[in-house]
């Protein structure tokens, strides 16, 4: 066995030749005495080319002074150091090298190893850029959010005050001269009051909508069955005195914010009840959707007045209405709230319908954890 092991010097040479890191031995005159083949592989210069000129000539002009300082420190016997500089490669580009060198020994030579970290540095710079861009975006978003917050605060206070004055003084005017007004005069007053009330409701709805976008989601496992039962209890007054055929199938359990999902369900049921009002046999059906594709949710189908599919995009807009307020009451915020809540859950809300042939509303929530029962 012993005879087959090469002498130690030869073993060292093999490692020297094999390494992908750049090994070199430099003398005190500023020349390489020897370099390993990795240099040619990485920088394109042959061993002869590298050893023929002072190594400083291969170094980026900006890095020469610091390199000389390091080199002098090494010659002065300073401890092992780590530093970086740029070496010109044969194609004219520069490569970043990270150095590890020993102080000059008794033989007057410096032994050093370098690693090409150009790619690492490029990636690091890219990560830094991306991070600062991300930080900028986060800052923008935070600013936008603060502006929105201030905006809604101002709407809440400053828009309501004059509205209250309109409504309040219309009431006082009524008290003051109401008795002496003719029918027209009374109607004008009523219109002022009604309009102020309505605007109050619109502001209220808009603020609630904006709050929905800001409130933090309180996620838990939510049994949609329970959500449906509570929502049905909420809309009971609207069922009063009406023979509505309600058909509910089993609903899944989803991950979501229970009070917000409750709002979604109540909105959709309330809509279905409203738009089936003129039907002699109103029917509302609630059932499950999904189960595959990582989504789970429900639909609410009614046989009410429906809508023309060409307006489907308007259905979920803020204050968008497909019927006049005289036909069906409401401010037009309900479905906007539904969509906003569903989007905040990362889900989808959409609708299908036909004029005078009912509508179906779908809510699908992502079930990333496979928690659907």
């Amino acid at each position: 066995m012993v005879e087959r092991v090469p002498p130690s010097q030869e073993r060292m040479h093999r490692i020297f030749d094999l390494s992908r890191d750049l090994f070199c031995i430099a003398d005190s005159q500023g020349y390489f005495q020897d370099v390993n083949p990795a240099w040619e592989h990485q920088l394109g210069w042959t061993r002869e080319e590298l050893c023929a000129r002072p190594f400083l000539e291969f170094i980026h002009p900006d890095d020469q002074a610091p390199t000389i300082a390091q080199y002098d420190a090494q010659k002065g016997g300073s401890q092992a150091i780590v530093f970086s500089n740029r070496y010109r490669d044969k194609s004219g580009g520069y490569r970043w090298l990270e150095w590890n060198a020993t102080p000059v020994g008794p033989d007057g030579l410096i032994y050093a190893v370098a690693r090409d970290v150009t790619e690492k540095r490029r990636i690091e710079a890219e990560v830094r850029d991306l991070n600062s861009e991300l930080a900028r975006h986060v800052g923008d978003l935070r600013r936008l959010n603060e502006e929105l917050e201030a905006f809604s605060y101002s709407v809440s206070h400053d828009l309501r005050a004059p509205l209250r004055h309109i409504a309040g003084f219309a009431d006082l005017l009524d008290k003051h001269v109401g008795a002496s007004l003719d029918e027209k005069g009374r109607r004008y007053l009523e219109t002022i009051r009604g309009a102020a009330q309505r605007m109050g409701k619109l502001i209220e709805d808009l603020l609630a909508f904006s709050r929905l976008g800001r409130a933090e989601l309180q996620l838990s496992e939510v049994r949609l069955e329970d959500v449906l039962q509570r929502a049905l209890a909420d809309v009971r007054p609207e069922l009063e005195g009406r023979a509505v055929d309600l058909a509910a199938q089993a609903l899944p359990t989803v991950r979501g914010d229970p009070s917000l999902l409750h709002l979604v369900m109540t909105n959709l049921l309330s809509n279905a009840l409203k738009y089936t009002r003129q039907r002699t046999h109103p029917r509302i059906e609630i059932g499950p959707i999904g189960g595959d594709g990582g989504e789970a949710g429900f639909f609410v189908r009614d046989n009410g007045v429906g809508f023309d599919m060409k307006y489907v995009d308007k259905l979920f807009g803020v204050f968008q209405r497909l019927h006049s307020a005289d036909e069906f009451e409401g401010t037009g915020i309900g479905l906007a709230n539904v969509r906003r809540i569903v989007h905040r859950h990362g889900g989808r809300a959409w609708a299908e319908g036909a004029l005078d042939a009912g509508a179906t509303f779908y809510v699908a929530l992502p079930q990333a954890t496979g928690g659907a029962a």
């Binding site: 605060y153 004055h165 409504a167 009431d171």
Partner: protein, 146 residues
């Protein structure tokens, strides 16, 4: 002074003040109603300083305090009153346009005694003021003047 202690209304807007006074009149509240037109005046009134130096030495049964006022706003007044050993027992009701959560939270944190959002219509507002008057000026036993 017949013993009935005043209600202090703090309101900067002339329109809101008129509606408030009208609502109080409507409700035949027996207590006198004093008015401060901003936060500084309200604090001067309560501390019997400046123009209010000669005021009879009784604390109001309740302060109906507007939240949004220029310079010293309702929250500033509330903070000053609740931090003042001599004044902190005086009941303060925030009466405001907004139910913004940040105002609600901050008002209660500072120790407000009640928080009322003014309804848009006058009859609703008058009803709210009636209840406020009935409770704070009649039902509730106010703290003795310090």
């Amino acid at each position: 002074m017949t013993g009935l202690r005043p209600v202090l209304v703090v309101e900067d807007s002339a329109n809101d003040l008129e509606l408030m006074l009208e609502a109080l009149r409507d409700n035949n509240l027996a207590n006198p109603v004093d008015v401060a037109r901003d936060g500084e005046q309200a604090l001067a009134y309560l501390r019997r300083e400046g123009a209010f130096q000669g005021r009879v030495a009784v604390d109001p049964v309740v302060v109906l305090l507007d939240l949004k006022m220029p310079r010293v706003d309702g929250l500033d007044v509330l903070r000053a009153v609740k931090n003042d050993r001599r004044l902190r027992a005086i009941p303060i009701v925030m009466v405001t346009s907004s139910r913004e959560e940040q105002d609600l939270v901050e008002s209660y944190r500072l120790g407000v005694n009640a928080y009322v959002v003014k309804p848009v219509d006058f009859s609703g507002f008058a009803a709210a003021v009636r209840q406020l008057g009935a409770f704070w000026a009649v039902v509730n036993e106010p703290p003795p003047t310090s």
